[in-house]
């Protein structure tokens, strides 16, 4: 029972990170029908901006709440700008072209960011400074929750509530929903669609950057290629929940996080090696899509000629 609770906590921690990244995938897809493959790299950029901010501003010396807040918000703002720049210079000019073209461009942007960081900073992992005094709390039995895990839960829940508020309670959120229904009609209703798309990228990128900094607190090792596999799994989470659907992205992220931890924790008992950790996300995805082709919470769209 203890280990079960422990696994659940660890799974939810990873799941919350996946969920934060998946939100960006799902929002962009909902609006542009574009798989933004560079999104995983934004997560990496966020972590690196946090790393440099911590050193430049002198917060790396010791743990402090102020330092953590500044680093977190700073990297979110920086990543939002990067996301907007990517949208403006790479995606906007090709928005009207075929899907394949936009997809290749997204892959190109992803490769560009990764290789730029590898060329500039080297591929070796770096240790992210501890901005939080690490401490473990025993829940009951032997299950423990660390301070960084609490931080991840708290910040991600806060950000998700904030996102929910932005999307459903503000004017810009209403416009976002309108654009995701139909871009052309939204334009005819006087919505500045270019601004809304840009805003969506900023929002998604900020969430990814937050995920980057939070992960770095939990597992303080960052490298320029860290976004590839995490980004891919977050994307799988978004598709699993029903891409374009915001609660779906959170659900998908948490499910994949838990499934992954359980494979590592319990897989050996039933003959599944721990290396299947990376395969389990895809296996769940395939199973779900075969029975519900639009994901868990996605709505089916009737196809017409």
């Amino acid at each position: 029972m203890d280990t079960f609770v422990q696994q659940l906590i660890n799974g939810l921690t990873i799941g919350a990170i996946y969920a934060l990244i998946a939100l960006g995938y799902t929002m962009v897809y909902g609006i542009l029908r574009l798989i933004n493959f560079a999104h995983g790299d934004i997560y990496m950029v966020g972590a690196f901006v946090g790393y440099f901010l911590a050193f430049q501003l002198g917060f790396a010396a010791g743990p402090s709440v102020v330092g953590l807040t500044v680093v977190l918000i700073g990297s979110m703002i920086a990543a939002a700008l990067v996301g907007m720049a990517i949208e403006r210079f790479a995606y906007r000019p090709i928005r009207k072209y075929a899907r394949m073209t936009t997809l290749i461009t997204a892959i190109g942007v992803s490769l560009l960011i990764e290789n730029l960081f590898v060329a500039k900073l080297g591929a070796a992992p770096r240790a992210f400074p501890q901005l939080l005094r690490e401490q473990s709390y025993t829940l009951f039995g032997n299950a423990a929750i660390s301070k960084s895990q609490i931080l991840i839960f708290a910040v991600s829940v806060l950000l998700m509530l904030l996102l929910q508020w932005v999307i459903f309670k503000t004017k810009v959120g209403t416009a976002m929903r309108a654009v995701s229904f139909n871009l052309n009609s939204a334009k005819l209703m006087g919505i500045n669609t270019d601004f809304i798309i840009s805003f969506t990228f900023a929002l998604g990128s900020a969430l990814a950057a937050a995920a980057g900094v939070l992960t770095a607190q939990y597992n303080p090792q960052i490298d320029p290629l860290m976004g590839i596999i995490t980004g891919l799994k977050a994307f799988v989470a978004a598709v699993l929940g029903g891409i374009g659907n915001i609660p779906g992205a959170v659900l998908g992220g948490l499910l994949i996080g838990i499934a992954e931890t359980f494979v590592v924790g319990y897989g050996q008992n039933v003959g599944v090696p721990t290396t299947f950790r990376d395969a389990v996300a895809f296996a769940i995805l395939i199973l779900v899509l075969l029975f519900r082709p639009t994901g868990l919470l996605g709505s089916t769209v009737q196809e017409k000629v």
């Binding site: 490769l111 990376d278 395969a279």
Partner: protein
């Protein structure tokens, strides 16, 4: 001359040509002349990429089904055939050599490996294709990606094929093998595309619902194209494994599938010559960028003299090689921004282009629109039309 004789003659010429070039590519060289091993290796890898790009073009370019799992099928072909050649190749070859001679036995065993690799990859394609081809668009893409990753991780956990440490494979393939099968691939795909099956595939790409309404069993044709495409990818895997003599699951990650997609999009989806061109460009471009810095420097020193180059420019050019993949990615984005339909679009390169280009200056009367006969213009692709609809 009857067509059959003509074709046999053409095949003979091609085989002879390949044998001669193969000798030229080998370490011994031809009459003392040979290609440096580095370039020979690149040329062979380009051939493998041609097979991959042309085979992916069948399912993605002509049938319009977006697959990101090509590297997975390549891995299936590579590992299944390597299992055969590593564990059974040597004894079988020896017993066969007593009957038909060593050279032929060597070739026959590798041929068997290619057949086995292709069949196993085709089976994998069938198993993956039947359930996933019910899905469309991005969902199909992500499911094929998922299957490819699962295939890779399963292989990673099979200890008899090396697992995480990699798998050393006997060297069988060379230029001749790779290019012979590249030509066979192109012929197979060309013939499929220009047959009634090809018409059905293209109609599925243009409009799946309409194709179904016209009585085409879309699922059957999609699975058929997927299986053939997987088999050819498996063949490329066999050749790659037995050329490089080493297999590692890291070489079959999804980035490899992306690479193949980039080739066909760059060359022009739905164009065979485009796929070939894309494969060649993507193989050579990163390597060309590697030598870009020193070349620019020697050019610069020839113009303004070696001593006049500023130190900052010198260090920049020296470091340029580190940035080759950055430049590669930037070029890729730039090409997509300026020529989204790829180099060839859906057109095919043909010799009549050259003839027309020669005739044009003499004031040849234009036929049809823009000086191209109606037949040569071909149908507008669905991608172009959808674009127009989306643009309103």
């Amino acid at each position: 001359m009857p067509t059959l004789v003509k074709r046999l003659f053409a095949a003979l010429v091609i085989v002879l040509l390949l044998v001669v070039i193969n000798q030229y590519m080998s370490r011994e060289g031809l009459f003392g002349f040979g290609v440096p091993p580095y370039y020979a290796r690149l040329i062979v890898l380009a051939g493998i990429n041609i097979i991959l790009a042309v085979s992916l073009n069948l399912i993605t370019g002509f049938t319009g089904q977006f697959s990101i799992g090509h590297a997975g099928f390549m891995a299936v072909g590579a590992y299944s055939s390597a299992y055969l050649t590593v564990y059974y190749g040597q004894p079988w070859e020896q017993s066969l050599a007593g009957i038909v001679g060593a050279t032929l036995a060597h070739a026959l065993i590798f041929l068997l490996a290619i057949v086995v690799g292709s069949i196993v990859a085709a089976l994998a394609g069938l198993i993956v294709g039947i359930p996933s081809l019910r899905l469309r668009g991005d969902y199909l893409a992500i499911v094929t990606l998922g299957f490819a990753e699962i295939i890779r991780i399963v292989i990673l956990n099979i200890d008899s094929v090396g697992g995480a440490t990699g798998f050393t494979v006997p060297s069988y393939a060379n230029f001749l093998w790779v290019y012979a099968f590249a030509i066979i691939t192109i012929v197979i795909v060309y013939n499929i595309v220009h047959s009634d099956i090809g018409r059905a595939l293209v109609s599925i790409r243009e409009d799946e619902l309409a194709a179904e309404a016209m009585g085409i069993n879309t699922t059957r044709y999609k699975v058929l194209a997927f299986v053939i495409s997987s088999a050819l990818a498996g063949m490329a895997g066999v050749l790659a494994g037995h050329y490089l003599s080493f297999l590692s699951t890291n070489d079959f990650q999804f980035i490899r599938s992306f690479e193949i997609i980039i080739m066909i999009v760059l060359g022009g989806m739905g164009s065979l010559t485009g796929a070939v061109l894309g494969a060649i460009v993507i193989t050579f471009l990163p390597e060309l960028l590697r030598t870009l810095g020193p070349k620019l420097e020697s050019l610069l020193s020839a113009i303004i003299g070696a001593d006049n180059i500023p130190a900052s420019v010198h260090t920049f050019l020296l470091q340029l090689a580190n940035y080759r993949l950055v430049i590669f990615a930037a070029l890729l984005i730039l090409i997509m921004l300026t020529r989204p339909q790829g180099i060839m679009g859906t057109r095919e390169f043909s010799l009549s282009w050259l003839k027309r280009a020669r005739r044009r200056p003499e004031g040849d009367k234009p036929v049809g629109e823009q000086g191209v006969s109606i037949a040569e213009q071909g149908p507008r692709s669905a991608i172009d039309r959808k674009k127009e609809i989306e643009n309103g």
